[in-house]
């Protein structure tokens, strides 16, 4: 078991390295200096407290979306619809936030948290029920429902819920100061707000649920071997619905954190496909919670620093290219890198296999 994990880590390291080299090759091809660009990337992500704050902000975002993917996948259902669930959570909370203006934050914030989670969960419930009851492929339905949710939010935020404030031409009414997540002094100037406390709390809660509770154990069994789980009397359908509800609620909550934190109102452009970035991290780490959190920090660095590379003309899409390269390399692990990593971790693996 240990040997397998070691091998996995080695091939992960190799994949990251190769993917970054491929990224460098791509930069050379388009006439940029990769050493300079990667230098800017890392200093832009870790160079100052503000940069570090932005990196942490991005990392927590990746971790929560990655875990949202993992919770669903481990329950045997794939949630590609997190983006839509997040938008609906953001819009619902922005609407309620504006409605409750003037009331106590002790009432308003919990209410907005609830409605955001609920909006995300209910939107996720539809594809979950379609999958469980009618066996309709959830990948297709969740993707299509992303488009529906985004168009709906665009309509609402440009129509019925459009702000009436002067000088603001997009988004809903602003969230009143008393409700906002404040920025943190230590990381002043960055996007990190006090919402990070809630995000970390959710991450810990999900980690606990996945690793320390019966439901989490059942999820693991179903995720690994559906027919075994079925024979041992677990209801795959119940788990799938539950996993999807949790996943959707997490996405909806993230939408609210963005709206009440960085954005201060619902804006149509608040996310640049956050969810898909987190989903890639989860896929790379094979839906393992701890791995997702650690990898999120690494990709947080890449993505925050990647924004800086635009100053020298390297498009930040490079980071997504590197991410998908890593997935391809890891997915082909058995064939492409398996031999190398087995050799690197010593031929002992083979002998052990024979013995046991």
């Amino acid at each position: 078991m240990k040997q397998v994990r070691k091998q996995y880590l080695v091939s992960l390291g190799l994949s990251v390295l190769i993917a970054m080299l491929l990224g460098a090759a791509l930069m050379l091809l388009t006439g940029h200096n990769p050493i300079e660009a990667y230098g800017i990337m890392f200093s832009g992500a870790l160079g100052s407290m503000t940069d570090l704050g932005d990196t942490l902000y991005k990392s927590t975002q990746l971790a929560i979306t990655g875990l949202a993917t993992a919770v669903a996948s481990q329950s045997g259902i794939f949630n590609v619809g997190g983006e839509g669930q997040m938008y609906l959570g953001a819009l619902a909370s922005a609407w309620l936030g504006a409605l409750l203006k003037g009331t106590s934050p002790w009432l308003a914030i919990p209410a907005c948290l609830c409605i955001a989670g609920l909006a995300g969960a209910l939107w996720a419930l539809i594809p979950a029920l379609l999958k469980v009851k009618l066996k309709i492929n959830e990948v297709i339905t969740t993707i299509l429902m992303n488009t529906i949710a985004l168009k709906f939010c665009s309509y609402m935020s440009n129509g019925p819920l459009k702000t009436t404030e002067r000088g603001i031409n997009q988004g809903t009414q602003s969230i009143s100061k008393a409700f906002r997540f404040a920025s943190i002094d230590l990381f002043s100037g960055s996007n990190l707000t006090t919402a990070v406390v809630l995000i970390v709390f959710i991450i810990l809660l999900v980690w606990y649920m996945m690793n320390r509770t019966t439901t989490g154990f059942e999820m693991k069994l179903t995720g690994q071997n559906e027919s075994f789980a079925r024979f041992s009397g677990l209801s795959a359908a119940r788990l799938a619905v539950l996993g999807m509800l949790i996943s959707g609620a997490m996405c909806g909550l993230l939408g609210m954190f963005e709206t009440f934190g960085v954005q201060r109102r619902f804006r149509m452009d608040f996310s640049s496909e956050f969810y898909f970035d987190g989903m890639l991290v989860a896929m790379i780490m094979q839906y393992k919670p701890l791995g997702i959190v650690l990898m999120s920090f690494f990709f947080g660095i890449l993505m925050t620093g990647g924004q800086r590379m635009q100053y020298i003309g390297v498009s930040s899409e490079l980071v997504e290219i590197i991410q998908s390269f890593i997935i391809f390399l890891m997915a082909a692990e058995s064939g492409l890198l398996g031999k190398v990593s087995r050799a690197l971790t010593g031929g002992a693996a083979k002998k052990q296999e024979v013995k046991t």
């Binding site: 791509l26 388009t30 006439g31 794939f78 590609v80 379609l130 009618l134 066996k135 309709i136 492929n137 990948v139 297709i140 339905t141 993707i143 299509l144 429902m145 992303n146 488009t147 529906i148 168009k151 709906f152 665009s154 309509y155 440009n158 129509g159 898909f276 989903m279 890639l280 896929m283 003309g313 498009s315 899409e317 490079l318 997504e320 290219i321 991410q323 998908s324 390269f325 997935i327 391809f328 997915a331 082909a332 058995s334 064939g335 492409l336």
Partner: protein, 294 residues
């Protein structure tokens, strides 16, 4: 509401135009589905094809080269998908989704690497040559439209009336029996994924060079997923997939006609809602049929 305003010639033309994108991509997806490895990555293949078509047409000032570029990129990505799924036995779904994200990222990256271009490709007017079109009753029809109909018929013949189609299907359903008659299921699966790439290249070329002559970031707008839904709905039969795509195109076009009454952002959701409803109706009927039999 005047129904005549919705069902007129321009709605018909819009229906056909939108459907053609989905039909071509759907035929591609169908080829992989027949081989038992349904490709979700067609959305990415379309995006890459659309980009390649514009670049080819721009570099060589010829639509033929645009088409050649799109087909080449399609073939490359189809082979790539096949390599990972068949040779390295990767999860089809993960590779498909990663392929989609990769295609959007790399086309955006390359687009922004061309000086002065971002968001969409906008060189001097006339620098990008469109696919040829002809005129029927006053409206332009791209040659890709009749070509796609021809391809539907040819694919149907291939799948149901040739040994090749039989082997393709067998490579997914009964690979061992195929092997026992001396045919390699792997080779058939590769054939399926390469054909998928070619069809998606055509779809992409039509997307960017059919009526427009430009590429915009994330151009396919999830229409690849709609095509996958049509393949599921049409149970991998080219003719049914074609009809499903037409239905999708019609909902899209009818929605556009209703923009005077309903907000255009809302009407844009109709085809997606329609696609999901289509899948629900099919699934309900299917389960009802199963119950009857049992």
């Amino acid at each position: 509401m005047d129904l005549g305003a919705i069902f007129n010639l321009s709605t018909l033309m819009n229906t056909i135009n939108t459907a053609t994108i989905v039909v071509l991509a759907g035929l591609g997806c169908l080829m992989t589905d027949q081989a038992g490895m349904m490709c979700i990555g067609i959305d990415g293949m379309m995006t890459a094809g659309a980009f390649a078509a514009v670049i080819g047409s721009w570099l060589c000032s010829s639509w033929i080269m645009g088409l050649v570029f799109a087909l080449a990129v399609g073939l490359l990505l189809g082979g790539f998908y096949g390599l990972f799924v068949i040779r390295y036995k990767s999860d089809e779904f993960i590779i498909g989704v990663a392929l989609n994200i990769f295609a959007v990222a790399i086309t955006t990256f390359l687009l922004r690497s061309i000086p002065g271009q971002s968001g969409s490709f906008h060189p001097a007017t006339g620098a990008v040559v469109k696919l040829p079109s002809f005129s029927i009753a006053g409206s332009n029809v791209s040659i890709m439209v009749p070509l796609s109909w021809l391809l539907v018929a040819l694919t149907w013949l291939l799948v149901y009336r040739t040994p090749l189609g039989f082997w393709l299907h067998a490579s997914g359903e009964h690979p061992e029996s195929l092997r026992s008659v001396g045919r390699s299921p792997e080779r058939m699966k590769y054939l399926g994924s390469l054909a998928c790439g070619l069809f998606c290249g055509l779809s992409g070329a039509y997307l960017s060079l059919g009526y427009l002559s430009t590429f915009t970031e994330n151009m396919s707008a999830s229409q690849g997923y709609v095509a996958v839904a049509c393949v599921i709905f049409g149970r991998s039969n080219p003719v049914y997939v074609f009809l499903a795509a037409l239905l999708f195109g019609f909902i899209d076009a009818a929605g556009q006609r209703m923009q005077g009454i309903v907000d255009p952002t809302l009407t844009a959701t109709f085809p997606y809602i329609g696609t999901i409803l289509m899948m629900v109706i099919l699934a309900v009927r299917y389960t009802a049929m199963k119950k009857k039999r049992a």
